[in-house]
Symmetry: C2
Subunit: 501 residues, 2 copies
Amino acid sequence: MTAYESLCHLAQEIALLASTSSILGWDQETYMPSKALDHRARQLSYLSAKSHALATGKPFRKALERALKDGETRGSRNAANLREWEYELQRASRIPTALVAEESNITTHARHAWVEARKNSDFGIFARHLESILKIARRKATLWGYADEPYDALLVGYERGARTRSIARLFNQLQPSLASIAKNAVIKSRHVPKNLLKGKYPIAKQQQLNAEIAESIGFDFQAGRIDTTTHPFCTTLGPQDVRLTTRYDQTDFTSSLFGVLHEAGHGLYEQGLPAAEFGCPSGTAVSLGIHESQSRLWENHVGRSEAFWKRWLPRAAELFPNLRKLSLEDFLAAIHRAEFSFIRVEADEATYDMHILLRFNIERQLLNGTLSVTQIPEAWNDQFEALFGLRPPDDAHGCLQDIHWSLGGLGYFATYTLGNLNAAQLYAQASQDRKIHSSLNSANYGPLLAWLRFHVHSRGSTLLPNELMKKATGQGTDAAAYLDHLSKRFNSSTGNRRARK
Amino acid sequence: MTAYESLCHLAQEIALLASTSSILGWDQETYMPSKALDHRARQLSYLSAKSHALATGKPFRKALERALKDGETRGSRNAANLREWEYELQRASRIPTALVAEESNITTHARHAWVEARKNSDFGIFARHLESILKIARRKATLWGYADEPYDALLVGYERGARTRSIARLFNQLQPSLASIAKNAVIKSRHVPKNLLKGKYPIAKQQQLNAEIAESIGFDFQAGRIDTTTHPFCTTLGPQDVRLTTRYDQTDFTSSLFGVLHEAGHGLYEQGLPAAEFGCPSGTAVSLGIHESQSRLWENHVGRSEAFWKRWLPRAAELFPNLRKLSLEDFLAAIHRAEFSFIRVEADEATYDMHILLRFNIERQLLNGTLSVTQIPEAWNDQFEALFGLRPPDDAHGCLQDIHWSLGGLGYFATYTLGNLNAAQLYAQASQDRKIHSSLNSANYGPLLAWLRFHVHSRGSTLLPNELMKKATGQGTDAAAYLDHLSKRFNSSTGNRRARK
């Protein structure tokens, strides 16, 4: 066996363990009975310890050293794998095992405290835990090292090759335009009745429609499925096993449907990764910003388009009689309705990114030490008011709403907006192809998917995210296509028209 | 850490891996998409190799040696654990790893071949594979060693401490009585219309009833659940996580219900094992013959009794209007209806064991070399005809119907009838308690469950199966209680009455 082959072998073994953990995690969210939690936690911690030991152990190090010395990297995919393995090993090795264990212990308790704090809207319950998490995040940043500021070191864990400075520049450039688009969209939406779609939507029929639509965009149900959870997600249990989840609102079918389109977008990416390279970087999604581009592309660019609903509204009306009186125009007005609101995960397309900009600022200040944990609630509310013109009534509707910090996920939020930018840019590029453009108009999603398979999915992590964007669209992640998309959507005649009662 | 503590620690680690495999197996049967099979197989084989290595590895051996030398076995539970660990290690060590791998490979292919063979009712497709399986079984029997005949060595893998000779004696003693009871039951059942219960039973309502009943007998849904599979089973994913499955016939609710009662009987046993000793013999079910006694006790002794349906028929009739016209008497006649049939898993209580006696004879002859694989179809059909007075029309209805041999499960079938005997014996003993007896009459199952918790579940594997029976009932597994039960059920006035149309 060559050194490179040994590395593949070890990487596959690590992936086998990691995908086993994923099954345990999926079951925990979907079907596991409540009393099983303790044993499940033991299983998960056992498996992650085993896979961490393999990933940083001597056999892996030695094989990597030999492979790098051999220079036996036929083809760019192998070279990319070596590059990523070296990068990951360096990063993993800088964190002592004791710190990993300490963090796992702190976040287990922090997650509990966060649930309590949010329930009681009492930041005090969570503050002490967040202090510890922040302390660990800063220690990790120091151990990893960074170019400009500590946030860099955390960010690259989610978005390989990203720089905080560049993202801040991009976000600053976006902010005034986003604010103006959002404001206009909200003003126009006042004419659209809030409950235009409210009705009776039996879950079984929602599931039927969701499955038909997921299948039509290319999701392979022989290599995946959809289940029900409180918080929708997508997880990969193996190279041919991608599980989506959604939740159902029996008074509005679009809630589960857009959830499924979003998660199926993630799922198509995972199903499109080279299965034979499962476990190697070349068979693994490259970053959260690229992952989110796939979910947002199918959810917003495809799923909220006029062409899409020209095809699917009649089918939806077959299943849900109360839609029969609704015109396509009114339906589109309803799903493009914008509103300033406190909760990120319920935000519409026009206002969503302002929630992200806020979080990015707060996190950066925390890591730079210019904001202390105890100052968060006030800073959050002030900044929220400046952006949205509303002040959160309590911390549950403010700085306590998201789970991320309690899990140690500092530096994660920025990737949501990167995902929106990438989605718009990739969609605009793909749509320049006449065949794709016209096939979308006839609700044929095969050509678009094929384009994404080639330019995004098949690449795995062989290119860094920004290189992938350059190769696919001619330039790195940029704001232009996204602003163009939002302007068209929220200044278009459809958005402008008054919905009939 | 003492040597005994090290052993506990290692046993828990093995159990952690084994329970992880169980989750993977459960998901494979319930929700896994079809294309995921290859990766799942790799995960399962990886995990079983790891746990086999731990179970036969040097640390385990050394710790066991030290613990046995120390004699530091405070309490009989610890002594029982040492006894079982020593036994298991000796057995596992006699089988070379290469043979384990060879068997796994052969059975993977044999299972495929069996599916094909059964579908086409062509024994020839399966014969060659069964030859290999038989060869391996005989090799294993030789390696393990046995007192009287090779069947002994296989049997004890399922029924610790059992002897083929004793079982044969028991079965020979049973056979004439069973045959006569079955014949009478079938003759009497001719007066009971076959489709007395046929109707429309929506799955959601069956699930509702099944859950109510499972809960009423004590199944803890916070530590377990029920899903749907083609072949019902019960599996334990952790000390507080027991998963049952059933299948639904929309024209007859009793099919899923008796399935759930059966599997919940297994589940109650698993939920009643001492959770703190999970992974140790003292926290593990002792044998298949005891396990099956728990499922049969709840399915047949409780679940097919008059007292049970006095309570539950009115509830069933609330959910299923077509039952409203049916008297309790007629309902009981319907669920006690007996018929000679070809398929074991569809057989009724009166004829079931004759299917087992047949298989026990055939397997024993195969292992003793007095019957060759190619002779099976004819031998099966001849023996079936002698027992049932019918000849199977083809091998799918004969020697190809069961999956067990294709999985390498030779020596397993006998435990089904042992389970029936044990169930009757335990139930008769428990019912002598006045409180239990009267509580069953008012559909209160708590006292019976408490009795089983004490006499069976809490013991884990601290007693050998026959010792457990002796301690619980005053004697080892015996035919008397079961024959008494069958005679009462199938000669009783209820069974005798002619059902009104």
